[in-house]
Symmetry: D2
């Protein structure tokens, strides 16, 4: 891995649920916003719905330890595998000065043509940018 | 008042914040969804962004008593005043079998032309529908 | 499967994101609220944080088709496997009159003792209730 | 006014609703998190529910201009008036390099004793801290 793309998260008061820690559904908002920033950083454009986009096909999250309002956390985002029409992304929620993540996310994102309404190959320039950023082999 | 438009609310687990009751920001999601249903019912169409719409210009909420996960609540929605380019809406969050509301909302909505990007007069047919539904004078 | 526990979902205006359909993070709010209702129905009590509880250890969601504001959807919830200290739950988001789900969720929930702060065996009476409700073998 | 307490806001992808800008209900999450930070900064402690707290009694928001995902915004928070058992807070959402706010919030917060479950006088040391921070007269 050549890059660690890290997005500090601003926890909101109402991210905390009746259990006293960040609600599990909110984690996905964190992963989402980090994903958008990652694509913006690596692809140099905001991926939007008017042309090709990357849509989330599946996501798996392991909740390892709770997150509290006073925690200082970041999301670390990486693309770990590029397929023909999809990619695999790994994200972790990590707290300051900790090595073990609080949560781990593995997702599959599909390249989608919004006009044709179907999956398409990842554009060559996007593929190149992901490979360069992540140090992935062709 | 000729009609009480009542929208039962499905409270979500994560509407509850660290204080143990529905977070004050969530009330606005309830008011919002009830507002959309009200317009759909009264105007017979979904107000969307492609033509004229009603956008919220200001809102005032009084929080009178907390709402808990086990409460059964509804939002009661009324338009109480029609002006030239705006209307005044009153909403209340009421719990089953209670007369005093848990929260009271007064908002001003402006009729907006999305193409011209400016406020416009409330269309005559909308005005008529509001008047008929609410029993308001011209 | 002997029971289909079905929770109709009230979609909120702001569940819709900039893509025009229900945001993927919001699906988890739907799964969550259905989970709480399921436990309340099957165990006959609200699972809360003051004693034993069931906490979510991992979740996998497949997003199969988008959900729109005008869709009428439910979450179908089942417990499909009981282990010693955990259970496996399967949930689906299904739209009215459709057979294919819009999303599929598989989660592992761990029985947790909030006082001892560690996983514990699923209480015998809970186990019995899950088995009876779902027609699961011992 | 002696201090401008400013809280930069991290906008999340799903803060944007189907209209293409930050949903009005989300503004209240921004105001909320800024309020918590303000109290933490001025009172030097996290206001929690186990003792005295400040609860929101009413809020009025004027929505002046929409906020978009790419905007860089902050919430500016001030206490403008101290009463016996309550205070008046003014908050604004301001975008980078702009003078006119995108939204303006005026709220009344009541000092509340969670054990007695009733409003109480603002503690003398809190009153002093607010006065010092904001340059308010006794």
């Amino acid at each position: 891995m050549t890059n660690y793309f890290r997005t500090p998260i601003q926890i909101r008061f109402n991210d905390i649920d009746g259990m006293g820690h960040v609600n599990n559904a909110i984690y996905h908002e964190y992963f989402d916003l980090a994903r958008v920033e990652y694509f913006h950083r690596v692809l140099g454009e905001v991926v939007d719905r008017h042309e090709n986009g990357l849509i989330i096909a599946s996501v798996k999250v392991d909740f390892l330890a709770p997150v509290f309002l006073s925690d200082r956390i970041s999301v670390v985002t990486r693309v770990v595998k590029l397929r023909n029409k999809s990619l695999e992304m790994v994200q972790q929620i990590v707290a300051e000065n900790e090595t073990e993540p609080r949560a781990r996310n593995s997702s599959v994102m599909v390249c989608f043509d919004y006009k044709k309404n179907c999956p398409v190959e990842i554009p060559a320039d996007w593929r190149k940018k992901f490979q360069d950023f992540e140090g992935l082999e062709d």
